[in-house]
């Protein structure tokens, strides 16, 4: 799952640094992800994992780190369907 998240971040997060240089707990907003880039990341993750982020998950902390994104996706995605 984290490899796919990193692919989405590479394509859509517009970070100031290489995603592969970031740890799973590094702050993506501090790494340069804007609120608009966050929208693109959310939409791309929904495509990649065939889920929809409900309003209750629309908070900064959901998208703050790779680990946080992974944790939210794990809750939204049945374990058997998780890619990667």
């Amino acid at each position: 799952m984290e490899d796919e998240i990193r692919r989405v971040l590479t394509e859509h997060a517009r970070l100031a640094v290489d995603v592969n240089q970031l740890g799973n707990d590094d702050d993506l907003f501090e790494a340069g992800m804007t609120s608009h880039a966050n929208v693109n990341v959310m939409l791309a993750l929904e495509e990649a994992f065939d889920v929809e982020f409900p309003e209750a998950t629309l908070r900064r902390s959901t998208f703050e780190t790779i680990a946080a994104i992974s944790a939210t996706l794990s809750q939204l995605t049945p374990a058997a369907d998780v890619a990667g």
Binding site: R14, S35, V39, L43, T57, R59
Partner: protein, 159 residues
């Protein structure tokens, strides 16, 4: 760039008390909250091209989409300004839990061209929690940048 966004300064006649210096016992004047945001037009255009209706329907109301028409560059600029207005509103609302979804913050454009922020659902509930009684919005775009400023009046005692 819209001149209304340039630095505005309020001057008071000499000897006139500032609004916050009400006499003791008088009702406290409304407090003011302000939010500002910048959005790149090219990024909005790229998102429209990449995600299409899923992007448009997730972020914007039918009224907002109908308000932005014409050349694709014009549409992207108008929507970028509206996205900036939603983010500026979020900065005013400072949601403690989940942020209100984007469509609950609508830039309503009157036939005269004047715009106002209309809140529904989660955004309206958060505004009520804060005691916000009125909102004003100003939009602008120039080249690749779109900007919005949102000002809110708060008529509620601070705990």
């Amino acid at each position: 760039m819209d001149d209304s966004l340039m630095g505005a300064v309020m001057y008071l006649p000499e000897g006139q008390p500032a609004p916050h210096s009400e006499a003791a016992g008088a009702p406290a004047p409304p407090r003011v909250l302000v939010g500002v945001d910048l959005t790149r037009v090219a990024e909005v255009a790229a998102s429209i091209e990449r995600f299409g209706d899923r992007y448009l329907q997730r972020l914007f109301t039918e009224h907002e989409l109908a308000s932005c028409h014409g050349h694709p560059d014009t549409v992207a600029a108008g929507l970028a300004a509206r996205f900036a207005a939603k983010e500026a509103t979020i900065k005013v609302l400072k949601p403690e839990a989940a942020r209100p979804e984007w469509r609950s913050m609508e830039v309503h454009r009157a036939p005269s061209g004047a715009c106002e922020m209309r809140l529904t659902d989660g955004a309206a509930r958060r505004a009520a929690e804060l005691g916000i009684t009125d909102l004003a919005v100003s939009l602008s775009h120039e080249g690749d940048l779109a900007a919005a400023v949102v000002v809110a009046l708060v008529d509620k005692e601070v705990d």
